[in-house]
């Protein structure tokens, strides 16, 4: 059987997905980046600085924690990859550290980024403070309101936050506005994309920067269970960055089953969903050919989910390809299931996960494990930013909501 290539090809595609569908004004920027990203990432200078910062500044390696009570409940050996313990509270900083080093190497002086839940915005503002670079964050007005604490953190860190008032005023609109800003400042500006989306080479850059997650898993699993691979990997997926990092070094290892949880919102049979891989069709969004939720007339639909970080009508092209090849199993987790799972992890393990990560926890209930199955689940972020949302939705928490 011909071996499938799940990684990006030399033209920037994952199977039929990917590419760089950008206006001509960005052609040079994108081509420059395509030509320089691999030499930069592979250079010793970059690797030394990146690794040092991940260790001393981010606090890596992030722990791999055996969740005893949850393991008993779900009849497996559940290990949590604790990206929530990183500096700034999520996996996002793995990527922003790498991209800002690239920006500096390429002589750019101004940083822009989009953000949904605000985690990527905070992670970008953080590295801009660290490197003393000008930082502009685009964030949908709806998200500015529902993730207010993160907005204040970005401002404290010295970033300018631009509330975006077009469309649904969420992540997708923030991406569009960031790209428009980039069109107006192609020479001095580096766009730090937060997920495995956007024009090539961004999906590959972000996947490579996040691949430190699965790189660490190999050593940590070897140490804890005597073999360097799990039976299952579970992560949540919006644009797909923590999922890409979690699976990166296991993509070609068919012994490892991969389950990804996307945001079902009110349900995939309703108009209120962000489950792109269940409801999407081939299209182009933010410079990439991928699966997109769209109308019969090719207009991009607004995504809907309780989770600002998964609120995106597209999906990274790498994930679109993996899912269509059957390499990954995609589950849609509805708002109420995610909230319940967030409370469950809180009560059983003393970990309040981000609502995004709670979608991955909720996947456990939908899978059947053998007692010896080793399951690694990435807790992509911490839930501090979501406390109000958890409290507002206590009724979804059933037995955990009586307080």
């Amino acid at each position: 059987m011909e071996k499938k290539n799940y990684f990006v090809d030399d033209k920037g595609f994952y199977g039929k997905f990917g590419g760089a569908y950008v206006p001509e004004i960005l052609y040079k920027c994108v081509t420059d980046l395509q030509q320089s990203y691999l030499p930069i990432i592979e250079s010793k200078e970059f690797q030394d600085e990146y690794r040092q910062l991940l260790k001393d500044y981010v606090g890596r390696p992030s722990p791999l924690y055996f969740a005893k009570r949850m393991s008993e409940k779900y009849g497996c050996k559940l290990y949590l990859k604790r990206e929530d313990l990183n500096h700034t509270g999520a996996h996002k900083i793995n990527n922003t550290i790498g991209q800002i080093l690239m920006a500096r190497k390429m002589g750019k002086t101004r940083i822009i980024a989009e953000t949904g839940a605000g985690q990527h915005g905070v992670a970008t503002a953080t590295v801009c403070a660290l490197m003393n670079m000008k930082c502009e964050i685009f964030m949908g007005k709806t998200d500015v309101e529902r993730q207010h604490t993160n907005v204040e953190r970005m401002k404290m860190l010295g970033a300018t936050v631009h509330p975006v008032t077009t469309g649904n005023m969420t992540l997708s609109d923030a991406c569009s506005e960031a790209i428009r800003d980039w069109c107006c400042h192609p020479q001095d500006t580096f766009y730090i994309v937060g997920s495995t989306m956007g024009p090539h080479p961004y999906p590959d850059i972000v996947a490579k920067m996040q691949s430190v997650i699965s790189e660490e898993l190999k050593g940590q699993l070897d140490e804890k269970i005597g073999r360097n691979y799990p039976d299952y990997l579970i992560a949540c997926v919006g644009g797909g960055s923590n999922a890409a990092g979690t699976i990166y070094h296991y993509i070609d290892d068919e012994r490892v089953k991969i389950v990804l949880a996307e945001a079902g919102g009110h349900g995939i049979d309703t108009d209120y969903t962000a489950a792109t891989m269940h409801c999407g069709t081939e299209g182009i969004i933010h410079g990439a050919r991928t699966l997109v939720m769209q109308t019969d007339d090719g207009q991009i639909k607004e995504a809907f989910t309780i989770s600002a970080g998964l609120d995106y009508p597209g999906i990274g092209p790498m994930h679109a390809n993996l899912a269509q090849c059957g390499r990954t199993k995609i589950l849609a987790i509805n708002d109420d299931e995610a909230i319940y799972a967030g409370y469950e992890l809180t009560r059983m393990e003393g970990i309040i996960p981000a609502i995004e990560s709670a979608h991955a926890i909720a996947a456990l209930k939908k899978l059947t494990f053998k007692p010896d199955d080793v399951v690694v689940l990435t807790v992509s972020g911490r839930g501090d930013k979501d406390v109000q949302t958890y409290l507002n939705n206590k009724q979804m928490a059933k037995e955990y909501g009586n307080f």
Partner: protein, 258 residues
């Protein structure tokens, strides 16, 4: 002969003015009226904007026109139907302008067929990569005698401009500056240098300059170094403000005298 080629060959001795408007805005049914009114008032070519939910290269004015058009229920099919109804009255070239997702969803070949059927002479698809144009779109467009108009910008290298010039026909859309669509009060020295630099390349295709043209100075600068100018956001604003195309085009002529 394709109407775009005909326009540039017959009017080589004078400067051209092309206008963009977003079909379906301010009213769903107004497309035909806008086109015929502009034709009667001396406009040389019209870009018929196809509204899209996520227009990455457009500023606030055209974004908002697209949102209104979509709320009004505009679809590519409805736009084509309206164009077809005035096909026999339209003498000037019409160029469809829209993003790739909508065109791809409609189907490239079907899109070309519909253009022919309704009398459009070409299309501008700002996020269509040049490789995809050459491989997937050009062979079909050529078959239907349609011109796919590609853009160049201040960031486009000379080598790439030559390549684009070699593989396109009709005209080249020259983006005035590193920007999204919208109005600018003046073009600075750097932009004029860029206009002169491209003019001196003696490309085989005529060039139309667009993005940022809203008054006498920007219009004259553009027309001095190219075959003509394209006005978008300024006209879309006036069309919204005046509510009818005759008053809007009169106001536009006033604005570009100042």
């Amino acid at each position: 002969m394709n109407k775009i080629n005909k326009l540039f060959s017959e009017c080589a001795d004078r400067k051209l003015l092309s206008l963009y408007f977003c079909a379906g805005c301010p009213t769903l049914e107004g497309t035909a009226d806008v086109i015929l009114t502009l034709q009667d008032n001396g406009i040389d070519m019209i870009e018929v904007g196809i509204p899209f939910s996520d227009p990455l290269a457009d500023g606030p004015v055209i974004q908002s026109a697209g949102t209104v058009a979509l709320k009004n229920g505009a679809t590519l099919q409805k736009i084509f139907d309206q164009l077809e109804s005035i096909k026999d009255k339209v003498r000037i070239p019409l160029v469809m302008m829209g993003y790739l997702n909508v065109v791809m969803h409609y189907g490239i070949e079907r899109f070309c067929q519909s253009c022919v059927k309704c009398g459009a002479s070409g299309a501008i698809i700002p996020d269509l990569p040049f490789d995809d144009y050459l491989r997937d779109v050009k062979p079909i467009a050529d078959k239907y005698d349609l011109r796919i108009i590609m853009m160049i910008t201040p960031e486009t290298s000379e080598e790439r401009i030559r390549f684009i010039d070699e593989h396109t026909d009709g005209f080249i859309y020259m983006v005035s500056s590193a920007s999204i669509t919208g109005t600018q009060n003046s073009f600075g020295d750097a932009k004029l240098e860029y206009f002169k630099r491209i003019d001196a390349m003696k490309l085989k295709n005529p060039r139309m300059i667009g993005f940022g043209i809203s008054n006498k100075q920007t219009l004259e600068n553009a027309q001095e170094y190219a075959a003509g100018a394209i006005i978008g956001s300024k006209f879309v604003s006036l069309l919204n403000e005046k509510g009818n195309p005759k008053d809007a085009v009169d106001a536009l002529y006033q604005a570009i005298k100042q």
